[in-house]
């Protein structure tokens, strides 16, 4: 694997191989010495043009656990705020000697430009680009589902027949896109629930079923319910009348939690707006995997960085 830009590029076997590798990485994290020497001497640059705490920290932890050197670069306080172009930034990083670049950018497609432009000869990981994709989030969500559903015996398995309902702002969500492509590659049955204004044009061509009613979706007893964040920074039009109305119609509250089957999983990519799309009762319940998702994120990112940065001229 040279770059990880989209979960669309992953075949079923490749996706399962990444999840299996993440199992090995997770296992190493239970040891007294958590560090593995696999990427000793490699330099990874975290290039974040958008704010992020968990993704950036997670990538940093993953790179450090593999003994790579990490350089953090955020747009705030850098030359980017002085108007430097992506090309110049990339060439600067190439001159520093980066072996891998983890990029988050507000423009969809920026990671692909970086990977294909020839400005820099490094492995590129998309850590979220605009409203396009966030592949490692999709992978860690699939990993979390597989671990909860299959337990110890999850190695080598896919998610065939697992019913997943994704609820909320599908329009702006790169997490939803990465999940839809990956989960359907792995054989899961994905359905989306959202207000009509928060569904993208062309959603009918996606490998999903679309609904508008959260209560009907819960009555269908999905095995996984994934709530998405209402991204107030992207709410630049009147997508719904007000937060209270959204919460009443599409928020996952305690009363809806009680109607969800006992063994269903409640997922959220974070950061949460408690009380808006998810209630505290639901977020902190035993069915919630939100903390596990963060822990699994480190293992998935270790697996991805390992695959990207090892294996030279064969």
């Amino acid at each position: 694997m040279r770059h990880l830009l989209s979960t669309k590029d992953l075949s079923r076997d490749e996706a399962i191989a990444i999840l299996d590798l993440a199992e090995d990485m997770a296992q190493a994290q239970t040891r007294e010495v958590k560090k593995l020497p696999a990427l000793r001497g490699k330099t990874i640059v975290n290039l974040f043009f958008e704010d992020s705490t968990r993704t950036k920290t997670s990538f940093e932890a993953a790179a450090k656990r593999l003994s790579a050197d990490v350089i953090n670069f955020s747009a705030k306080g850098s030359s980017v705020s002085k108007g430097e172009s992506l090309k110049d930034t990339a060439q600067t990083l190439a001159a520093i000697g980066a072996d891998g670049v983890v990029i988050r950018h507000h423009s969809s497609g920026a990671p692909r430009v970086l990977a294909t432009s020839g400005w820099i000869d490094a492995g590129v990981v998309n850590a979220g680009d605009g409203t396009h994709e966030h592949p490692t989030q999709g992978l860690l969500d699939a990993f979390t589902m597989r671990k909860r559903l299959h337990g110890e015996a999850s190695r080598g398995k896919a998610l065939d027949g697992v019913t997943v309902t994704i609820v909320g702002d599908i329009l702006h969500s790169r997490v939803a896109r990465s999940n839809v492509w990956l989960l359907s590659t792995l054989g899961a049955e994905v359905s989306l629930v959202a207000p009509g204004t928060l569904l993208p044009v062309g959603v009918e061509t996606w490998p999903v079923t679309v609904g508008y009613d959260l209560d009907a979706a819960i009555a269908a007893k999905p095995q996984v319910l994934m709530m998405l964040r209402i991204q107030s920074e992207r709410m630049n039009a009147a997508f719904f009348p007000n937060a209270r109305e959204y919460s009443r119609q599409w928020g996952f509250d305690d009363e809806r939690l009680a109607r969800l089957p006992e063994d269903s999983l409640v997922m959220h990519p974070g950061p949460m707006n408690r009380g808006l799309e998810i209630s505290s009762g639901a977020a902190d319940s035993a069915r919630s995997t939100i903390i596990e998702q963060v822990a699994n994120g480190v293992s998935i990112r270790m697996a991805v960085l390992y695959l990207l940065l090892t294996g030279g001229a064969a």
Partner: protein, 175 residues
């Protein structure tokens, strides 16, 4: 090139039995033996040796698997390797006698990686090395304590170890 069989099933069984007795002898009555096989075929050999040891002195040996992929020195030279699971037996390896088990001992680089991997898992009292076949051509100052068969070979030749659990039959061939 045609393959020539150097060890047949009975030879392999005899070699493992002898190695087991040698392990017990050198352990001087220690009952805390941990056999760590290096994937893929070393794991099976470790399990077989542990079974023989436990027949001779019940409860003296535990078997596990030690993956060394992350510790290799050729990660950026060769195509990406997929690691196998590491399985450390319950109770850990601190203070025990660890016997590393591999099918073929060649350059010694795998064993170097294994020693590093052990370092991250615990501190055994002593680490020994058992190999079914020692084919020479060491690139590092590493030597096996227990060897099934010394097989002088040319670097051009390939040595294949097949074990019933994976390949359906037990044999060692050279081609």
């Amino acid at each position: 090139m045609t393959a020539r069989t150097v060890l047949q099933q009975a030879d392999i069984t005899r070699a493992l039995t002898r190695i087991s007795h040698e392990i017990l002898e050198s352990a001087k009555g220690s009952t805390d033996l941990v056999l760590l096989g290096i994937p893929t075929r070393g794991v099976i050999l470790a399990e077989r040796i542990a079974a023989i040891l436990n027949e001779i002195e019940p409860g003296c040996a535990r078997a596990g698997a030690l993956d060394v992929t992350m510790y290799r020195d050729d990660l950026s030279r060769n195509p990406t390797r997929t690691p196998s699971p590491t399985q450390i037996p319950d109770g850990g390896i601190d203070g025990t006698t660890v016997v590393l088990v591999d099918d073929v001992l060649y350059s010694g680089r795998t064993i170097r990686s294994a020693l590093d991997a052990i370092n991250d898992i615990g501190r055994p009292r002593v680490v020994r090395l058992a190999a079914l076949v020692d084919r020479g051509h060491r690139e590092l100052p590493i030597r096996a304590d227990f060897v099934g068969k010394n097989l002088p070979s040319s670097t051009e030749e390939r040595i294949n170890v097949r074990l019933a659990e994976i390949d359906g039959l037990d044999e060692v061939t050279i081609e």
